[in-house]
Amino acid sequence: MAEGDGVIRVLLADEQSLFRQAVKVVLSSEDDLNVVGEAADGLQAIAEVERVRPDVALLDAGLPNCDGIRATRQITLRVPECRVIVFSAQEDEQILVQALEAGASGYLSKGSALVDLIEATRAVHRGDALIPPRMLGALLKRLIHRRRERDEAMRRMGKLTRREREVLALLARGADNDGIAQHLVISPETARTHIQNVLGKLDVHSRLEAAAFVTQNGILDDLAGAPR
């Protein structure tokens, strides 16, 4: 079958040459799959994807020099038409979530059957998402937990006045009392009072914790209108 005639072009990235060769032999035995590139580390994988523009990239999560998750983020950013499958030594819920958040379309463990890898490659190329069924429940639980945390964060944020949101935005950007006072054209004492109110309403105990609250909940953008 000629390329461009339904052949899925695959890039394979794994530190272990033996593993790459074994997978390459298996994938290449399929009429509709063609391994067009290989990489032994994350940086090489990104460069190769940019060079050969494969349809699907298979990345080991534990790649040296830029792990598979970070490489996924870069690949989906730079070559968005390339679909990524991340695989890891064992089924790992945290890696699964990180991979999906980085833009991967699928996740497999190295314990999977080779036929699963073949089918996974075809599935993500079709546009399907691929999650090991056994991990689905845990993943949904994690999503629900995260949503609850976000809702709780928004509830606390809702207690803040507009001025306090401005103060929080400055705190999250590392400003001290004087910096906040200067930026908002208020006295340092007033800035301190606002900060105490923010800490109290967010139920956190330090500026650092307040800054972490903003970062962890990804709400810096929600502080729209706050000063830069």
Binding site: R134, L136, L139, L140
Partner: protein, 94 residues
Amino acid sequence: MNMLVRKGNPIRKPEVWLRQADNENVVYDPETSVVHILNATATAIWVLCDGETTPDEMVEAICELSGLPREVVVEDLRRILLQFEEADILTWKV
């Protein structure tokens, strides 16, 4: 939403256990000695039936993960929870 015309959150009967193997998910009820084979979606929902997770939360998470329309997910969830209920392996925690 009250899509299930039930009050509270679905919860697995504590004596019922789940065994997940490579290609099958089995729920076993020692009280009745009945074995139920679940598909991947039903298994995921079974895991979520902890008495703390609301049906609404289940719907939102499944929609987020699958990209399916809300009405499709609501209908699937309703059907699966009713099957659990009919099999007497699920109750509702108010």
